[in-house]
């Protein structure tokens, strides 16, 4: 039996809305995100635990985590 491949979440970032306040980067418990220039980007998707803290605390409606 083959081992099931770990399914990765999908993090959607709306770069037009992101203002680069770095709230999501600082509050991410597993350090998934980073600031790349003026907007946020995904650095290490495999570490994401789908806790949704970035989504909950983003003031700009710019980030959402899909399963």
């Amino acid at each position: 039996m083959t081992q099931a491949v770990k399914k990765l979440p999908r993090i959607e970032i709306n770069e037009k809305f992101c203002k680069g306040c770095s709230i999501c980067v600082d509050f991410c418990p597993t350090d998934v995100l980073e600031l790349r220039g003026p907007v946020v980007a995904v650095k290490n998707l495999e570490a994401c635990t789908r806790c949704q803290l970035c989504d909950l605390r983003c003031p700009d409606f710019a980030i959402q985590v899909f399963d």
């Binding site: 099931a4 399914k7 037009k16 809305f17 203002k19 680069g20 306040c21 770095s22 709230i23 600082d26 509050f27 789908r50 949704q52 989504d55 909950l56 605390r57 983003c58 003031p59 700009d60 409606f61 710019a62 959402q64 985590v65 899909f66 399963d67």
Partner: protein
Amino acid sequence: MSTIAEKKEKVSVPFDYNKYLRPNKLPHIWCPGCGHGIVLKALLRAIDRAGLEKDNICMVSGIGCSSRTPGYVDFNTLHTLHGRAMAFATGVKLAKPELKVIVITGDGDALAIGGNHFIHACRRNIDMTVLVMTNSTYGMTGGQYSPTTPLDAIATTSRYGNIEPPFDACEMARASGATFVARGTAYHTIELERTIHDALVHKGTSIVDVIDACPTYFGRANKYKSATHMMELIEKDGTVNVKQAEKLPPEKLEGKVLRGVLHKVERPEYCEQYENLIMQKAAAKK
């Protein structure tokens, strides 16, 4: 046949904010790191949880950063005079009592310029939910000190420190007769969602004082490093839940602000009283 991995898979769909927003008005004008956006999201989730219809909500605001909120949401909205949001909301509620009236104001808007409207709306106990977004500054006009700016804080109008003692919006609301008084912060966003939901389902004047951060004016002037730094120091470390506070010794509560539902009583609601009076008088005339 489905595998174990497939069975374990939980489907968590993120909240669809677009359902309640006017997407063509976004991105909003608030500064990077401003807490108002977080509060707006908590409010939208609370509205969804309370099962309110979009067309049955009327959102009223005054002037200020926080009062830009109705521009972004797809409800019946009213952007009115500085400090007078609650006066307009009273009018809306009396004319159409079936509407759910939500007032969004800032601390300067509600407590300084609209102080009297705030007190008298609480006194009448008219059914509306009021969100006072307390960021301790007048952000839109350049960072002047407001009625909730802490002592010794720096603002553009208090360069050597503020000497005016701040207001406690919750204490004032309670003393004025509001039947639901609560406090939340933008940092504790899930708790805030729950608090706003409780405020929305309560019949009578519900005041929710929401502490959020203004990194641009208050933060820069008072040497906070970033929006996150402000959220951690002011909102996380500066507040304690009212239920936790009961178990803590008094010395640990020094300088802390209580959050959660602080006061809840039942009292006759204004529109109902008004309706009853009319019906009584009409019946007596026949």
